[in-house]
Symmetry: C2
Subunit: 245 residues, 2 copies
């Protein structure tokens, strides 16, 4: 069996999320598996690095699948490019060691959250950025983000739907940039709880708006209380940016 | 009468172009006039700095209109923001001298053309950039662009539909930038013939692909022959970027 790894970008706007649902094709996994199965004549099941929620995008989701199909990688990639909808693109494709597993072997994941901080929203990023018309204070947001970097119990930054045994995760870096009122927040970590990135962004936005102080983020962490979580920032601003192995 | 000037950004994907058509609302002008007329109770007619074709976008189209309506500018702008579709945004609005005319008073216009030069297209710019999967040679394109700067007879770079008396125009600057395989071509001039920007971009692409040499652009100019025009680059990559007065 060949083990094929792919890096997949998608505009999540139209989809119910990454994970295949019963009786429904409008998922990223569903679309990929349908085309891969048609191409190979096998029933292909893909493994993703993790799920992305409804409306969340990807610049670098990684998936792998096993197949006996013998066509060359460029030929397969060309086929996928032709038959996938234009909002799902296989950017990279390669044959990897049979032991490679997209989910188990993840070392770090980086998410990108975009905020349109123009007074009136930019029509060109309206599907890919959260619009906030009040000016955010970036310096305060950067100050607050520093409390989150490192190994912490992120219970206060997880959805109550999160059912992981341990809520301890490590964030390696948070980078916040701004260019022409488009703010980009990159968060790299070894793993994320359910809604964790969107709740972190929600908290940073509160800091940027002056509703919370940077030091409050430190307190939130220490409380380890999910009822203390900030509002979850909208899905459309979020993208799975990069997965490292 | 008050004379109101507005800077309007729009995603042209859904529209039949800027100019109002009979019996059809799917134009930028049509949408703006409908909302403005509803707001003021008057029959508002707007003047644009010029037309944009079907599918062409705008970061900085300028329009003006006359009205007796007395609401403050911020109140009007808020109203427009609420009632216009989300792909048309009035970014700036101000009251100007009664003699100001959006079309007659134009000093320069800048157009932006975007090319996605990734091997496989980026799903996030698919509606706003022309995808070319073969690597373009930017240095050659920049060299070629220099022949176009200055005052020239642009007959060879105009659609045969162009019916202007004179085909002499001046291009002040062409700037070509690249970032992560997204190429941006900015063209500033005192005026443009019908399809001129898209034909110039078409010619620069031929140079970038090695189908034409930079010097061929100089020859094309000198021929003053509209049958020599390069292919017109697709509308979706084009945006009216800025209008100066």
């Amino acid at each position: 069996m060949r083990n094929i790894k792919m890096v997949v970008a998608y505009d999540g706007s139209r989809y119910k999320g990454f994970q295949r649902l019963r009786d429904n094709d409008m998922t990223i996994q569903g679309k990929l598996e349908t085309v891969l199965s048609k191409m190979t004549g096998e029933e292909i099941e893909i493994i993703g690095s993790g799920r992305t929620d409804m409306g969340v995008h990807s610049h670098g989701q990684v998936v792998n699948f096993k197949t006996k199909f013998e066509d060359s990688i460029p030929k397969m990639q060309r086929y996928l490019y032709e038959y996938l909808p234009e909002d799902i693109v296989v950017k990279e494709m390669e044959e990897v060691d049979e032991r490679f597993h997209s989910r188990y072997n993840v070392k770090t994941k980086t998410y990108l959250y975009k905020i349109d901080n123009n007074k009136f929203h930019d029509p060109f990023t309206r599907k890919y950025a959260l619009h906030i018309n009040k000016k955010l204070n970036l310096e305060l947001m950067i100050e607050a983000s520093k409390y989150l970097v490192g190994e912490h119990d992120f219970t206060s930054f997880a959805s109550s739907k999160s059912k992981k045994k341990s809520n301890i995760r490590e964030i390696y870096a948070i980078n916040i940039k701004e260019n022409k009122n488009l703010i980009e927040i990159y968060i790299e970590g070894n793993g994320f709880l359910y809604n964790m990135v969107r709740i972190i962004v929600g908290a940073l936005i509160e800091v940027g708006l002056g509703k919370k102080k940077p030091i409050d983020i430190k307190e939130m962490l220490e409380l380890k209380d999910r009822t203390k979580a900030s509002e979850t920032a909208l899905a459309k601003g979020l993208s799975l940016y990069k997965v490292k192995y």
